[in-house]
């Protein structure tokens, strides 16, 4: 067997589901041994939970064993699920619907994570719940980004504010907020261009969008959502930190959870930055958006896919 074949055979194991693995562990070990804990650690790491948070969870498990909360391998999964659930619940916000409309929601994130699609889904959701929605095409940079948002606007049946490609994104945002006030809109959602959090000039542009909105409505944006791709690994922590330095993030949308990626990095983000996940994306359709439920998510980490 060549090196690659060997690795490949080895990796087969990683594809097996969390449950399957834990069940195997439970069957394989009569009592809790170090090897069992090592395997459990591997399972967390493979869900992108990351080293520091995995270490923290493993410490909790070891404490749980010591103070007899965990007495057999069977107790491990519920214990861990509960700990993750608690971590995710540490800070939870209600929806930010303003008494004094419009509510302004700014959507930010790195390239290709699903910002525009999420706006389409959210627009549809708010529209269906009887709100008057306006979306703003403040990604004036990427090829056909405006056309893409327009199609989503049609799908959701909402109005859109757009300028020409290449124009100032802050001006689009300003226009949108003004129009929303004039037209008695309930919710304005602003789509921004994907940008890597390390690019100072693009992050500066985001600040400007923010300033312009706040000039029109001092409390706005009422919500600033960071969109994260569930496939992303530890870099998501850097994204959350650096976007958070520039704009006041109020939550996370975790997209593409319909794949096999577990999105475990949001546990780390919750743990380290106390930034709650609010929505999850589970497909490319207009209805493929769900409110985030911590317990379900914790359970899904352990489930087959």
């Amino acid at each position: 067997m060549g090196f690659f074949d060997k690795l490949k055979a080895g990796l087969e194991k990683t594809r097996k589901s969390f449950t399957e693995k834990i069940e195997q562990l439970v069957i394989g070990y009569a009592t809790i041994e170090d090897e069992l804990l090592d395997d459990l650690e591997a399972v967390l790491l493979s869900a992108d939970v990351g080293v520091p948070t995995t270490t923290k969870l493993m410490t909790e498990i070891r404490n749980g064993i010591r103070n007899k909360q965990i007495n057999s391998p069977d107790d491990l999964k519920p214990f861990l699920q509960d700990k993750i659930n608690t971590m995710l619940l540490c800070k939870h916000h209600a929806e930010p619907i303003e008494n004094d409309p419009p509510t302004v929601i700014l959507i930010v994130g790195v390239n290709g994570v699903g910002k525009t699609t999420t706006i389409g889904k959210l627009a549809n959701y708010y529209h269906e719940s009887g709100k008057k929605v306006l979306i703003a095409a403040a990604d004036t940079f990427r090829a056909a980004a405006i056309d893409q948002l327009e199609i989503w606007g049609q799908r959701a049946g909402t109005e859109i504010i757009k300028h020409a490609e290449g124009s100032d994104p802050a001006a689009v945002a300003f226009d949108a907020v003004q129009a929303a006030k004039a037209r008695k809109i309930d919710i304005v959602m602003i789509d921004t261009a994907g940008r890597l959090h390390t690019k100072a000039n693009l992050m500066e542009e985001l600040k400007k969008i923010n300033r312009v909105i706040a000039k029109e409505i001092p409390a706005a944006p009422h919500e600033t959502l960071l969109v994260l791709d569930a496939t992303t690994g530890q870099n998501a922590i850097s994204q959350a930190k650096l976007f958070g330095d520039v704009v006041a993030l109020t939550g996370v949308v975790l997209t593409k959870l319909d794949g096999t990626a577990k999105g475990g990095v949001v546990i780390a983000i919750n743990n380290e930055l106390s930034l709650p996940v609010k929505w999850i994306g589970v497909g490319e359709g207009v209805n493929d958006l769900r409110p985030f439920a911590a317990a379900e998510f914790a359970a899904a980490l352990f489930s087959d896919k």
């Binding site: 699903g114 690019k199 870099n235 794949g259």
Partner: protein
């Protein structure tokens, strides 16, 4: 990111170790703990990490430490060599077919950067004197065709579209068209899809059977985490990919996915996407990627000189 570099950590680990002799098993074990952590934090798949660490251990124990290097530097050197080896020593390029057109198909998950990369690749090849044709075979994503059209206009490269027709049909007609227009490169932009979506994976298989691409390139986001192995393995099993293009390397992602993907597919990483602009496509350098994953550019160049 406020990463303490692996080199610094190893330096500290070896502080106690005075003089230069053979590396003992316990010295190496301490150091390898740090190596393991650094690799995991860089998103290298944990199973790949395990195998790699075992290999490094085997090599490091009992080795004479070179006069010119501290024990820490010595371990870093071994780690770096193993990483570079695993990533595939040399750079690769696109195989140009002896009888044109060369057909290149870009595949990958949603939002990985396929369409942008199609534009970049077309641009690169045009500059090398080729005559590319870009094909809009993503009939699902809103405004995907328009996106490719805009890129085509910017680059003054023709695109082939049949609207929301069947992608297999589009690909076939596009190759016919390329022959008629004497275009020697055909770049097919496909829709993003999940590796577990059987129907859409079958669509790619049909395109492959119909147009027999010379290069099927998997486009992967450098920020991808542990799941990179599942994605790469599925695409490779279903299609037999010929190479990888790693995108969004212009950020601060360590890019451990590169190593994971290389490990499961054995296919070379051919290009690196370094920005959103259409000239931001570079040759991939395995050695640079190794030091990036480890988070220590300068230290390595010092060691290289030693």
């Amino acid at each position: 990111m406020v990463f303490e570099s692996l080199a610094d950590k190893l330096q500290q680990t070896f502080k106690k170790l005075r003089g230069k002799g053979k590396l003992s098993e316990s010295d190496v074990a301490e150091a390898l703990k740090e190596v393991r952590m650094a690799l995991l934090e860089a998103d290298v798949n944990f199973k790949v990490v395990k195998d790699l660490v075992a290999k490094i251990k085997e090599r490091a124990i009992g080795q004479e430490v070179l006069e010119s290097l501290t024990p820490a530097q010595h371990v870093v050197k071994i780690v770096n060599e193993e990483l570079t080896n695993l990533m595939g020593g040399t750079q690769s390029r696109i195989a140009i077919a002896s009888r044109p057109p060369t057909v290149i198909m870009l595949v990958g998950l949603q939002g990985a950067g396929k369409t942008t990369t199609a534009g970049k690749l077309a641009n690169l090849l045009k500059r090398q004197g080729k005559r590319p044709l870009m094909v809009a075979a993503d009939v699902y994503r809103p405004a995907a065709i328009k996106q490719l059209e805009v890129l085509g206009e910017q680059l003054e490269i023709p695109i082939f579209t049949m609207g929301q027709d069947n992608p297999v049909n589009i690909a076939k007609k596009a190759v016919d068209q390329a022959l008629m227009m004497a275009r020697d490169i055909v770049i097919i932009d496909t829709a993003g899809r999940l590796h577990i979506n059987e129907e859409l994976m079958n669509e790619l298989k049909s395109i492959k059977q119909t147009v027999k691409p010379h290069e099927i390139l998997l486009v992967v986001d450098a920020m991808t985490g542990q799941d990179a192995v599942n994605v790469a393995e599925s695409f490779n099993n279903d299609l037999g990919i010929d190479g990888i293009i790693l995108t969004k390397l212009d950020g601060d992602a360590r890019g451990g996915a590169a190593l994971s993907i290389k490990a499961v597919t054995g296919q070379p990483i051919k290009f690196a996407g370094m920005g959103e602009k259409l000239d931001a496509l570079e040759q991939f350098h395995p050695d640079r990627m190794a030091s990036r994953i480890l988070g220590m550019g300068d230290v390595l160049s010092l060691i290289e000189k030693a």
